[in-house]
């Protein structure tokens, strides 16, 4: 029997007032990307109906902070990504259900139990699922074998810590090492099994990998096993007693933690009457549009084009998910963002060691210049092409201004004057960016005075390519749902909307004692003021944001 033969009546065929089983904007998943998208959509579409459909039984949490939760530095209430009740305050309805199927041609999703739920715009933000151990691994069902991914896993781990003396951690990525360091801080001996010959071979070079591993060993309490895999788990009366390695070594432990990476939760890409383009994630363009009209994807499930390599890849990081959520929310609310997400960026703390990777620090080629520095007990590696930074790797006691370095790569700013500082790890981003703005201002104010040495003139800023829309399937004629307020027509905007005002003596937008406008709204229209071409003033141009509703009542950052 065909899949379509069993589907319920599409909800939008019901005539009358809006009902509980349809919404203008439907978001699948209440992770950080999903909820951020909902909040952003609400900002631009104050009267539309927004619904989040999720299986998760708790509000959105700061998942990167779960390690601090394990360490006891945070309580559960402190894990919330948004203040409690935020969804309710923003009139975002949350439906607890599982989406089984997407009927893209008729624009509704099928929930468990056979219910239908109509949509105008749909966002898939289903996140990722952990790989865990292979299903055939002996002993994987013993009590004490945990896959750390969700809040429940960490709650479980935290409950077990007081009776834990030895643990095994399996995995060779940042998640694994963060787990190892957290356990070490709790005084637990850790057996760390890494399958590859080096740590994070796709991100770190040999020296960086050795530096990280040496630091872990130096922290005390960790036994690191390179090129080692688990082939079985030993148990005793149903509980973990040890882990067996490929080298036939039995490592005694009471807990086995798998941190072997995640994979995008792409089931819905296939459970769709018009399957979405999917390859290691749902393929999206820079506006997060999938191959089907009115369906977007964001967060860990979305695969974006890497501007440096041209390949589509997921970005399972917190900051990327937030940005994607904002873009998706704006798009679904009828706005259009035209910005690139830029290069990959990952920053983390490994015990007392800060690690930062931006762009492609392992790039090779005839035109690539590699610079390495090992002074001050740290390690920094830069890759440059034609005086432009394309990759940066830093290991050290302190974290550099990581987002500023990302911006330098994203905008292709010349680094001739700051190469040494970047390499030595004493780059003063505030001073550098301030100088950039000052020089740009100088050139604007006094263009007749001759050339001003702007490191990278605004007109010559090398912009990262913005991917075009994916090969969309032909738009089908749709019956329209009966909503109270249809979504507004899409508005093309290029400037950052709110949060884009930088206090500056040149623009005169300093705080004044004047009363706000009688309307109480935004005193100025930033989009008008910042409609000029990209330049060094418009840092916000690199932020994927969109123009505000003119009638928005929300107070905006205006400094």
């Amino acid at each position: 029997m065909s899949r379509q033969a069993t589907v319920p009546i599409p909800p939008y065929t019901r005539i009358g007032r809006p009902h509980l089983d349809s919404a203008n904007i439907v978001i699948i998943g209440n992770g950080i990307a999903g909820v951020t998208a909902a909040l952003e959509a609400r900002r631009y579409a104050p009267n539309t109906r927004i619904v989040i459909i999720t299986e998760q039984i708790h509000p959105t949490i700061n998942t990167p902070a779960l390690k601090q939760f394990v360490l006891g530095k945070l309580e559960r209430d402190q894990l919330l990504a948004y203040p409690a009740g935020k969804e309710r305050a923003e009139r975002i309805h949350v439906v607890t259900a599982r989406v089984e199927y997407i009927h893209a041609q008729q624009k509704f999703v099928e929930l468990d139990g056979g219910r239908g739920f109509g949509y105008e715009e749909l966002l898939i933000a289903t996140g990722s699922t952990p790989r865990g151990f292979p299903s055939h691994l002996p002993g994987r069902n013993f009590d004490g074998v945990l896959t750390l991914h969700r809040l429940q896993d960490y709650l479980d781990l935290r409950r077990r810590l007081h009776e834990l003396r030895e643990a095994a951690v399996v995995g060779g990525g940042p998640h694994a090492i963060e787990t190892v360091m957290a356990l070490l801080q709790r005084g637990i001996h850790v057996h760390w099994l890494i399958r590859s010959a080096t740590f994070m071979p796709h991100v770190l070079d040999q020296h960086a990998s050795e530096t990280v591993i040496a630091r872990v060993r130096r922290a005390g309490g960790a036994s690191v096993y390179m090129e080692t895999e688990a082939v079985g788990i030993m148990g005793r009366v149903g509980m973990v007693a040890g882990i067996v390695t490929k080298q036939k070594q039995l490592l005694p432990c009471q807990l086995v933690l798998t941190c072997t990476g995640t994979q995008p939760a792409c089931v819905l890409a296939e459970h769709c009457d018009t399957p979405l383009h999917c390859e290691h994630g749902i393929l999206v363009d820079d506006q997060l549009r999938t191959s089907i009209p009115n369906i977007y994807a964001a967060g860990d499930v979305a695969a974006l084009q890497n501007p440096q390599t041209g390949t589509y890849e997921t970005r399972p990081q917190w900051y990327a998910a937030v940005l994607q959520g904002r873009i998706a929310g704006a798009m679904m609310a009828g706005r259009e963002a035209t910005e690139s997400f830029g290069v990959q960026w990952h920053a983390t703390q490994l015990g007392e060691l800060s690690m930062l990777t931006v762009g492609n620090p392992l790039a090779t080629g005839n035109d690539v210049t590699e610079l390495v520095d090992t002074s001050q007990g740290g390690y920094r590696r830069m890759t440059l092409v034609d005086n432009r930074l394309i990759g940066y790797l830093s290991l050290g006691a302190t974290q550099p201004d990581s987002l500023a370095i990302k911006r330098i790569i994203d905008e292709g700013l010349a680094v001739r004057d700051i190469t040494k500082a970047l390499l030595k790890g004493n780059f003063d981003a505030r001073k550098y960016l301030s100088q950039l703005r000052s020089r740009a201002a100088h050139s604007i104010l006094m263009p007749q005075k001759g050339h001003v040495a702007v490191p990278n003139p605004p007109s010559q800023v090398r912009l990262l390519p913005v991917t075009g829309p994916l090969g969309a399937t032909p738009s089908l004629t749709q019956e329209q749902a009966h909503y109270t307020e249809p979504l507004p027509a899409r508005v093309q905007v290029s400037a950052y909307v709110n949060l884009d005002e930088e206090m500056s003596p040149f623009t005169g937008n300093l705080p004044t004692l004047s009363k706000p406008s009688a309307s109480g709204g935004v005193p100025r229209s930033p989009s008008k003021r910042r409609s000029a071409p990209r330049n060094l003033w418009s840092y916000s141009n690199k932020m994927p944001t969109v123009a505000p509703e003119r009638n928005t009542k929300e107070e905006v950052l205006d400094v």
């Binding site: 700061n62 990167p64 902070a65 390690k67 601090q68 530095k73 945070l74 209430d77 402190q78 894990l79 919330l80 990504a81 948004y82 203040p83 935020k86 917190w318 900051y319 937030v322 940005l323 904002r326 920053a347 983390t348 703390q349 800060s354 930062l356 302190t398 974290q399 550099p400 201004d401 990581s402 987002l403 500023a404 505030r430 960016l433 950052y496 709110n498 949060l499 884009d500 005002e501 930088e502 206090m503 500056s504 003596p505 300093l510 705080p511 004044t512 004692l513 009363k515 706000p516 840092y539 916000s540 932020m543 929300e554 107070e555 905006v556 950052l557 205006d558 400094v559």
Partner: protein
């Protein structure tokens, strides 16, 4: 006549940093001026927009920009700049009352 307020970073930069905040709480743990419990989610939201609660306002006034919050940040963000922005918002809200 007001002198220009010198922010560590611009508004957009701070907004970007708040979006990158992972909520680990390390900055607040390091803060010597924090006298009452404030959660990162509330602080981040109120730094950017909306009304400012009395607790956050008190914290913002107490912050003396020592910078102790910067080094502990695992992702290299600048809570001191965010607090400066919050101070400015607080001042503005006072002016507009």
């Amino acid at each position: 006549m007001f002198k220009p307020v010198l922010l560590h970073k611009t508004g957009p930069q701070i907004a970007q940093e708040i979006q990158a905040c992972i909520g680990c709480n390390e900055c607040l743990l390091a803060c010597p001026a924090l006298a009452e419990p404030i959660t990162i989610d509330v602080l981040n939201c109120q730094t950017l927009s909306g009304s400012i609660s009395p607790a956050v306002a008190h914290f913002a006034r107490s912050c003396y920009q020592c910078g102790a919050c910067v080094d502990p940040c695992p992702v290299g963000l600048h809570r001191d700049a965010m607090m400066m922005l919050l101070k400015v918002r607080l001042l503005r809200s006072g002016w507009e009352e």
